[in-house]
């Protein structure tokens, strides 16, 4: 499969006066042509910072992309000089934002703001750009496009403004569009309109979309794959059906459980009050993440090793990756089974070695922490 966008080990930190916020701390994902990836997580999980990092729009200082690469059709955007990066923004990779009320400049007409992006990346005349803008407005389903290009943002409703934003983002037919909570500020009936429009445009132009949202329900019917983020890292990455039917990470399970399901009613079958399945506790402080798994303090399955070291992302099924020790076991067991009797012995030896290494490291760390405590 050919990927339009490949993100490897992306890390964006914010260097504040006396602490560092590890907003995005090693995120990998890929985006195939015409594919839609949902990036889901709660506030502060780093999903918006991830999208801003892809666009290289992190305010610097205090933010900085400290590591990783963002490969867009073979160009690493992270290493690109700012001038070259400008040629990509709005052209090859574009973005729409959460607040349609504030994301358009109030003092310029809609037509001007759409033709601005066209004139930046295409070699066209002012007048031509304006008629192109009207065509784009028609494409995003606005009536009277020739009239609308002369209107100012405050004359449009929230839904229409978001359509105008989509027109700006799609103007240069980018290969990747990032949608950062594009429907969160809208009413449900308008949200349905916008989602339908985005789906139609994606199919027509074969654009790859990274759809960022906190609302699992929104992406269920809209995306091909879902990446769940928690506290700056991806915890699960799987095809959309897998995520909803067979969630593996305890956080994903909790998140799904806490989404209210339509039509179940107030009472259970036995007449007791129906309660939502909530995740106890709150998000960890981005200044001091737990040393081990970042979800451990809220996790119902937390084991000793979860507190000690952060688990890696492992692929448990084709295309289904998860960052959890529960499934590390599973993966190892499967490998052992595949190896047969000889393999089992090798695995046992490896296990022995690993335990030894771990206990040694733990000892050293204890020593170190003691030393730190003294000094």
């Amino acid at each position: 499969m050919e990927y339009v966008l490949e993100v490897n080990d992306l890390a964006t930190y914010f260097f504040m006066h006396d602490y560092i916020i590890r907003a995005v701390d090693g995120v990998d994902f890929t985006l195939a042509k015409g594919e839609t990836l949902g990036i889901v997580g709660e506030s502060g999980c780093g999903k918006s910072i991830t999208s801003m990092s892809l666009m290289r729009l992190i305010p610097d200082p205090p933010g900085k992309i400290v590591d990783g690469e963002v490969n867009l059709k073979g160009t690493d955007l992270v290493k690109l000089p700012e001038e070259k990066m400008r040629g990509f923004r709005g052209n090859e990779i574009s973005m729409i934002f959460q607040e349609p009320m504030t994301s358009l400049n109030p003092v310029y007409t809609i037509g001007f703001q759409i033709s601005e992006v066209l004139r930046l990346h295409r070699d066209i005349e002012k007048r031509e750009a304006l008629s192109e803008a009207a065509r784009l407005l028609k494409m995003v389903g606005m009536s009277d496009p020739d009239q609308r290009v002369h209107e100012y943002p405050f004359q449009l409703s929230g839904g229409l403004r978001q359509r105008a934003m989509i027109a700006i983002a799609m103007a240069c037919e980018p290969s990747v569009m990032i949608a950062d909570e594009p429907t969160t500020a809208l009413d449900v009936t308008i949200q349905a309109q916008i989602l339908r429009l985005m789906g139609e445009l994606k199919d027509a132009k074969d654009t790859s979309i990274a759809f960022i949202t906190h609302d699992l329900a929104v992406i269920a019917g809209f995306t091909d794959r879902v990446m769940v983020m928690y506290a700056g890292v991806a915890v699960e990455d799987a095809p959309v059906k897998e995520v909803f039917k067979n969630p593996l990470h305890p956080y994903t399970q909790g998140l799904l459980g806490s989404v209210p399901v339509l039509g179940v009613g107030k009472l259970n079958e036995d007449g007791t009050r129906r309660l939502l399945q909530a995740i106890p506790g709150t998000l960890p402080d981005a200044r001091r993440f737990p040393r081990g798994c970042r979800f451990a303090p809220r996790c119902p399955h937390a084991m000793k090793r979860c507190w000690e070291a952060e688990p890696n992302m492992v692929e448990v099924a084709p295309g289904h990756k998860v960052r959890c020790y529960l499934h590390h076991e599973e993966v190892r067991e499967r490998k052992m089974r595949n190896l047969g009797a000889a393999g089992r012995r090798i695995a046992k030896l490896q296990e022995h070695d690993r335990k030894k290494r771990e206990s040694k490291r733990a000892r050293e760390e204890r020593k170190e922490s003691k030393r730190d405590g003294v000094s």
Binding site: S94, F97, L104, N105, P106, V107, D146, F154
Partner: protein, 374 residues
């Protein structure tokens, strides 16, 4: 779209020019013609762009009437409270008989009750007449109007000076937030605010005079002004304006720069600035086209407020550098107890303020589409 609905500059500007030329050719003064034609044409334009706004302006003008009436009342009360009247001094003179004085008083309606006098006073004031200046032996209008024009010239130039400098300074400080450049601008602005105007004026006068008098030290024109060509006259006045404009300008630059910086910082965090960057726009255009255009609105509002500051600041500086404006005429009038001149120049000052504020409001309405179209 209805073409008539859309406002078109190309259509109206020639009309302006033609009208001005016609008026001038019929013997009206150039400035007078421009003022009359522009006032008229702007009414027409506003009626075209937004009738609601024309109504608003008319309403604002009507609202200004009570303010001006109150000022007139205060001025009138001052005159009435002062002992005697215009002709009291003449009573001492041997050349004038008492019957003659009575006739004068009748002529000036000083024999009537105070409310009739006030009525007459207001009627006169509307025609720009505020009585007779004793010291200048001329109507107050004649004395004050030239001085008022000088004050307007000085105030507006100072405002423009401060505005033109403080906008880039504010933008510069905002785009370099918290680093040494930002601090430098802030310190500079505060020094400008902290130095008293008259002291800075003396300081500049001293500097200029000790480095070889490369600028005139006072007044508005040089001695041979009447014999100069128009261009020479222009530069002569400009040279005389340098010191007062710098003095008045720096005193309000501090406020304007701080406002501009704060506003820019706020706007640079707006979502639409991020949108502009996400389009691939250059940082310069993001700052000057997207952010600055929005940050300018409060600067226009503040312009109206600052007009009062500028004019009171100008009054002091005028006295120091002998600029023949309202400030210096007010001082002269006070010293020589020329009551009508004092009241006349005060009313002139207030009138200018009211109109200035109104103009600032209109300017704001014109630049902000939310106000203009909505």
């Amino acid at each position: 779209m209805n073409p008539l609905k859309q406002f078109n500059w190309r259509f109206t500007v020639p009309v302006d020019l033609v009208l001005i030329v016609v008026l001038v050719s019929r013997g009206s003064g150039v400035f007078f013609s421009i003022a009359v034609v522009e006032a008229l044409m702007w009414m027409v334009r506003l009626l075209w762009i937004s009738p609601a706004m024309l109504m608003y302006i008319i309403r604002r003008l009507v609202q200004a009437i009570p303010v001006l009436l109150a000022v007139l009342a205060i001025g009138f009360a001052l005159i009435q409270l002062a002992p005697g009247d215009m002709f009291t001094q003449m009573e001492l003179s041997d050349n004038i008989r008492p019957e003659q004085l009575d006739r004068f008083r009748e002529q000036f309606r000083l024999d009537q009750p105070w409310y009739m006098q006030f009525y007459q006073y207001v009627i006169n004031a509307v025609q720009g007449e505020f009585g007779f200046s004793r010291t200048y032996r001329a109507p107050v209008f004649a004395v004050v109007s030239q001085r008022a024009a000088n004050t307007i010239l000085l105030s507006l130039t100072s405002l423009a000076f401060a505005w033109v400098l403080s906008i880039p300074a504010g933008v510069f400080a905002a785009t370099n937030q918290y680093n040494i450049k930002d601090q430098f601008v802030s310190i500079f602005a505060f020094v400008g605010l902290a130095i008293p105007n008259f002291f800075l004026a003396f300081l500049l006068l001293y500097l200029v005079s000790s480095t070889g008098n490369w600028l005139p030290l006072g007044g508005m024109t040089s001695s041979g002004f009447r014999h100069m060509t128009a261009t020479q006259q222009f530069f002569d006045i400009a040279r005389h304006m340098v010191i007062p404009v710098v003095v008045i300008g720096t005193s309000i630059m501090a406020t304007l720069t701080r406002v501009m910086r704060g506003e820019m910082l706020k706007i640079m965090n707006e979502q639409y600035v991020v949108t502009a960057r996400a389009k691939g726009q250059t940082e310069n255009k993001v700052v000057y086209m997207h952010a600055l255009r929005n940050a300018i609105n409060p600067m226009i509002t503040i312009l109206g407020f600052q007009l009062g500051n500028v004019m009171s600041g100008a009054a002091l500086v005028e006295i120091v550098v002998a600029w023949p404006g309202l400030g210096s005429v007010l001082l002269e009038a006070l010293l020589s107890q020329d009551l009508y001149l004092v009241v006349g120049s005060l009313i002139y000052g207030v009138g200018l303020l009211v109109i200035g504020n109104l103009l600032a409001d209109i300017a704001l309405a014109l630049v902000d589409p939310r106000v203009r179209v909505g």
